[in-house]
């Protein structure tokens, strides 16, 4: 009898200890969990719920008619007031340029700076500076550059006798989107460069030296040693660039406001317009849900593509 008690007690004590440990872990996680649910999960759930409603944000909402998915249907079919397809296309164009122009530029700069050139710190600061400047300031700065009357760009073109190339950059349907893409790329080159530069600096000098001893040129070292090692960072940069393009808002709003004729709208400017100008909170919620889905989908897709390449 006494022996049995002795045998049982350690198990019970261990269970009790585990229980206390589990409770402690739960207790410590509770504040973070609470914040995570209240700040992230709850708003998403509410947005999904509201996206099926015809709601003006003030009165009580009612379910969409005749179809509960009416907001989602309108999103893809209403081409005059709410051209989501054009907005999405613009975001994808922005994402394309971010991935295939901005990131190679950032990678190039990171690799060059990673070779410890003279003035490395200075150039690092200069390239990173646009990231530190407020987007509103950058928007205003580029508006001045694009100004058709006194702007730097048109003045420069006139100076080199290219008068025919001058444009009303932000309001010409042919150049408006390009006018947004250029400053967006310029602003975030430094950001991605810094991420990649940290990765490049993390590459062991032994590996570089070994490759050099084998006769590799600096370019070959970068291509066959450094880039494969920093691939996880490049993947993160691609995810940031694509999701950032899908969520783009501030520069678009300042430079073109979605115009001319809504040709430079992006999902976020549409979202703002539907929520606060048209009082269509149901539709705004549907757009935000669609944005969340797209961001997750692209993040998963990019991860899968990189995994496939690794395999």
């Amino acid at each position: 009898m006494t022996d049995q008690v002795v045998v049982k007690n350690p198990q019970a004590q261990r269970r009790k200890k585990n229980l206390i440990l589990g409770f402690n872990i739960f207790l410590f996680l509770l504040p973070a969990l609470f914040l995570f649910i209240s700040i992230l999960i709850a708003p998403i759930v509410v947005s999904v719920y509201r996206s099926f409603q015809d709601w003006n944000g003030m009165s009580a909402g009612k379910w969409c008619e005749p179809n509960i998915f009416q907001n989602y249907i309108d999103m893809f079919t209403n081409s005059v007031t709410m051209n989501f397809v054009v907005a999405l296309k613009n975001s994808l164009i922005l994402a394309f340029f971010s991935v295939f122009v901005q990131l190679p530029l950032s990678l190039g700069l990171a690799l060059v700076l990673g070779r410890k050139p003279k003035g490395e710190r200075f150039f690092l600061t200069v390239f990173f500076m646009p990231v530190l400047i407020s987007t509103v300031v950058i928007g205003q700065l580029w508006l001045k550059i694009y100004n058709p009357d006194y702007g730097l760009l048109n003045s420069f073109l006139k100076l080199i006798n290219l008068d025919t190339w001058t444009h009303i950059w932000v309001s010409d349907p042919k150049t408006a989107l390009g006018s947004i893409i250029v400053p967006t790329i310029w602003q975030y080159v430094g950001y991605h460069m810094l991420l990649m530069y940290a990765g490049v600096k993390g590459v062991s000098p032994d590996l570089r030296e070994a490759a050099m001893l084998d006769g590799a040129t600096p370019g070959q070292v970068d291509r066959y040693v450094v880039i494969p090692i920093i691939k996880p960072i490049i993947r993160v940069s691609v995810i940031f660039a694509v999701t950032g393009s899908l969520k783009a808002y501030d520069l678009v709003f300042i430079l073109t406001g979605g115009g001319p004729q809504k040709l430079t709208e992006v999902p976020s400017t549409l979202l703002q317009q539907q929520l606060f100008l048209a009082n269509k909170y149901g539709m705004g919620s549907a757009i935000s849900v669609m944005l969340i889905i797209l961001c997750f989908a692209f993040a998963l897709l990019i991860t899968a593509v990189f995994r496939e390449k690794d395999n």
Binding site: L30, V80, T81, W169, S171, P173, G259, P260
Partner: protein
């Protein structure tokens, strides 16, 4: 052991902070929660007596930013109110026009409105009234009825109840830089449409841009388009369409839109204006870049304040295009700028009285400054009012009828649709027929 103690302390602090947050949220609910029933007119009496001298603080949002023509009238009126009512502290914030529309709607949706807020009458305020977010001003109005004619309250009256204090009334004016017109042989603004077009052609031939219009702010395009439509189809027809009593599918409106596009395609508008804001276009007009500028008569104050420019500028109404249906005196505009009181205000009754007094003073100073015509009966010496405002006053004295600005007359959803079409008309992406058919289909 030390680590454990620190961990327990950190956990305790976090738990306490969360508990504190919860308690604060709960306590704040009654104050901000002004429930819908509170403001719908049959609201229970506000907590504070309107006539009591108890010290209170009121918050106000408006659009009288530093660059706004009305800024001085707000500052002067608020200074007077501070003298007359030392027991009331007013915290006021001015937000840029376009951003304000977003901000006030977000505040209404979140039930976080200031006690007093600027609004546009008709549908803009109507949406808030429908949602029971606005305090009914019927009781407070009784004391001011002799100074504020009932007719001026019309645009902010819903189901027979008053919800807004009108400030000034404005119309769309055709401002002209007479120095530029003189260069092409015109001493006066042309009175007939044919003559007006000839004048535009002459200006163009002399390398002077006839019109400046801010394409970045679609409401500026409506100032031109609505004038062209009104002077083609008549005020009654346009009013019926704006108020939903008639369909948009009116061929005369389509023809008027085509006429407007002719002005665009003839190169009368500054092409770079499409990428500019109204402030930039206005500055260009004052700098002599354009001959004409169609915009609200609230601009008279700024034009009069610039002595050199004041000598050059004249104002008129847009000429009649189709004399069979329209006539001079049919104007776009009316009392739209309004102050309202939030139903959720804990001092709504006193805020209502305060708003009437403040509105009267803003109207008074605004009229003296030339920011518009008074919605209230004018008082004091008004002989110093600038010539432009006096000219507007003369135009209004001969007015036959007013059609309120389209985006103010329509609900937010319809106005957004309407402005999208106007944007496309200005960009010549749709023609008159597509405009009327599209709006007839999309505005339900």
């Amino acid at each position: 052991m030390k680590k454990r103690l620190v961990s327990v302390l950190v956990a305790a602090v976090m738990a306490l902070s969360l508990a504190a947050c919860g308690a604060e949220g709960g306590a704040a609910t009654p104050a901000g929660g002004g429930d819908a029933a509170g403001g719908s007119g049959d609201a229970p009496a506000a907590t504070a007596d309107a006539g009591s001298g108890e010290a209170i603080t009121l918050n106000m949002w408006c659009i009288a930013t530093e660059s706004d023509s009305n800024r001085h009238s707000y500052e002067a009126a608020i200074a007077d109110m501070a003298k007359n009512h030392p027991e009331i502290t007013l915290n006021w914030e001015a937000i840029e026009n376009q951003a304000y529309k977003t901000k006030i709607k977000a505040a209404v949706a979140a039930d976080e409105m200031p006690d007093i807020f600027f609004t546009w009458s008709c549908a803009f305020l109507g949406d808030f009234v429908k949602a029971n977010k606005v305090y009914c001003l019927d009781d407070a109005y009784k004391a001011y009825a002799s100074e504020l004619p009932e007719v001026m309250m019309g645009n902010s009256t819903y189901d027979g109840k008053h919800y807004g204090v009108p400030l000034t009334m404005n119309i769309v004016g055709l401002f002209a830089n007479m120095d530029l017109l003189k260069q092409v042989g015109y001493d006066e603004i042309p009175g007939s449409y044919d003559e007006f077009i000839k004048c535009c052609d002459a200006l163009k031939a002399a390398n002077i841009i006839p019109f400046g219009c801010a394409g970045k702010e679609t409401w500026c395009v409506t100032e031109y388009l609505e004038s062209v439509i009104e002077k083609s189809v008549g005020a009654d027809a346009l009013n019926d369409i704006f108020l939903g009593r008639a369909t948009w599918n009116n061929p005369d409106v389509g023809a008027a839109v085509d006429e407007f596009q002719k002005l665009v395609n003839n190169g009368y508008f500054d092409p770079s204006g499409a990428g500019l804001t109204n402030d930039e276009v206005k500055a260009n007009f004052m700098a002599g870049k354009y001959a004409f500028y169609m915009n609200g008569t609230w601009n008279c104050a700024d034009f009069a304040a610039d002595e050199a420019f004041y000598q050059k500028v004249k104002v008129s109404e847009f000429p009649v295009i189709n004399a069979d249906k329209a006539k001079l005196g049919q104007l776009i505009g009316g009392p739209s700028d309004t102050l309202a009181v939030a139903a959720s205000s804990p001092n709504a009754a006193r805020a209502a009285d305060y708003t009437f007094e403040l509105g009267k003073l803003i109207c008074h100073y605004g009229y003296l400054d030339g920011c518009g015509l008074p919605a209230w009966t004018p008082y004091g010496d008004t002989s110093g009012i600038n010539g432009l405002t006096q000219a507007v006053s003369e135009i209004c004295a001969k007015a036959d009828s007013y059609v309120l600005f389209g985006d103010t007359a329509m609900s937010a959803e319809d106005a957004t649709t309407y402005l999208s079409y106007v944007d496309q008309v200005y960009g010549c992406q749709v023609n008159g027929t597509q405009f009327i058919e599209g709006l007839a289909k999309d505005i339900r």
